[in-house]
Symmetry: C2
Subunit: 269 residues, 2 copies
């Protein structure tokens, strides 16, 4: 039985597109609705209560579009809002922190794992919590990188500014002898080459977003929600910010020329 | 919150141990209860109704032991009984065919996929169905290998007989120019080197059982069922057949010397 309803993805801005990219590769039949709250990005420095409120607004918007599953493709929102939303909606809801932690434990040989993320994600300590619940002996070092998201959102992730900021920011982690580094923000894979270069080639980078898609796939199977038709390939993107900027980044990152981007309002601040 | 209840694994015999091996690696904290219906193995040639009945008997036995999740670590039983059991018990139930199919589609570059399994699994056409629902263009070639399970169950999987039987059986598949071959029976990974040698090094072998453990892991996260204590490491093995033979194979395969194997009766034929 085929289920042709769309899967919803939400993020504070364009970061969740790194998850969508992987979803398009692994789940080509699925219709995708994406909502980036660009107007209020970044979420990282905001108080938890506010992030929860914004995440609910995004969730309600997509629920009205009849999504069959919700992917919180944002680490900051996952850290503070996943459990509450999961408990209160009647479709499967999945975040990015558990799949990312699991992948890191699988990848690490020395048990020395680093996490980079927004202020909100690092303050929540969710990754450390997950890692230590499953493997208490893991050495965990985490670092907030508040400058990274604005670089990505302003479409400067290939610039020399990006290189400079990233290598300076990551300096404290270089001494930690990590063998695995979790990209604990879905924006960061857009900076991946710059991050890899700054932290060193010997460190395995974990893209939590990409890992999440394996779980999405497992849950689609488990709940019999797959779309088996070749027709559901539409991808629709909503942004609370400028469709132009969104289109530039999304178009390049997803390699789609005629991207369907709509501006929406979520009630504002 | 930690859930220390065991995970149950069922199989017609020792085949599901290949799944348990992977579970012990990926989920070291989890307590495992395993039930192999050795006395009535193989399931492959039996009518579907009988396999369903036997699978229910195994399921009921483990439900009484308070398992928190059931893994049908047997392709033959998954093919005919998964949906019915999943619908009728109140813990998550997971089979091996969907994870195996998904992994094969991910691995295949040419879209030419082979499946080997028991008579029951191949006759059910479950793998072909799964593959074609997700990727209708896949070229699928399947072959029943009724001689493989008895070779494994009689602990001859390293013998020269095994080599001869496997290479003769797989001859028809060699012409198919496959790039991926699904080991569609959890017994077959014990024959993996022999199968790889017979089919050719260029073919990627998919161990559906091992793939299943990633899904188990995703579902433990999703349903908040993880055991976070280091105490739940007991593995208990039940067999309807001879504990001695079971212990020999399981001990060698899992590399455990003091294996806890109990003989039980399931009502018999």
């Amino acid at each position: 039985m085929s289920n042709e309803r769309p899967i919803g993805f939400i993020d504070s801005g364009v970061g969740g597109l790194t998850v969508v990219k992987e979803a398009m590769r692994q789940l080509p039949n699925e219709e995708i609705l994406y909502l980036g709250d660009t107007a209020r990005c970044p979420y990282g420095p905001r108080p938890a209560e506010q992030v929860i409120e914004f995440t609910w607004q995004m969730t309600r918007f997509l629920l009205k579009k009849n999504i069959k599953m919700l992917v919180i493709a944002c680490n900051t929102a996952t850290a503070v809002a996943l459990e509450e939303i999961k408990k209160n909606v009647d479709i499967p809801v999945i975040g990015v922190i558990q799949p990312g932690s699991r992948a890191a434990l699988k990848a690490s040989k020395t048990g020395r794992v680093g996490i980079i993320g927004t202020l909100g994600t690092i303050k929540s300590d969710s990754y450390r919590h997950e890692l230590h619940e499953k493997a208490p002996d893991t050495y965990v070092s985490s670092l907030a990188c508040p400058k990274f998201v604005p670089i990505v959102e302003s479409n400067q992730y290939n610039s020399s500014v990006a290189k400079k900021v990233v290598s300076q920011t990551l300096l404290p982690l270089k001494k930690e002898k990590l063998d695995t580094l979790i990209l604990g923000c879905t924006h960061y894979p857009l900076l991946r080459p710059v991050i890899q270069n700054a932290i060193g080639q010997q460190v395995t980078l974990i893209d939590s977003g990409a890992e999440t898609v394996s779980d999405v796939s497992a849950l689609l199977d488990y709940f019999n929600l797959n779309n088996y038709e070749q027709t559901g390939k539409t991808k629709t993107f909503y942004t609370t910010g400028s469709p132009k900027m969104f289109k530039d980044i999304a178009g390049e990152w997803l390699n789609i020329t005629d991207l369907n981007v709509e501006h929406i309002d979520l009630g504002g601040e």
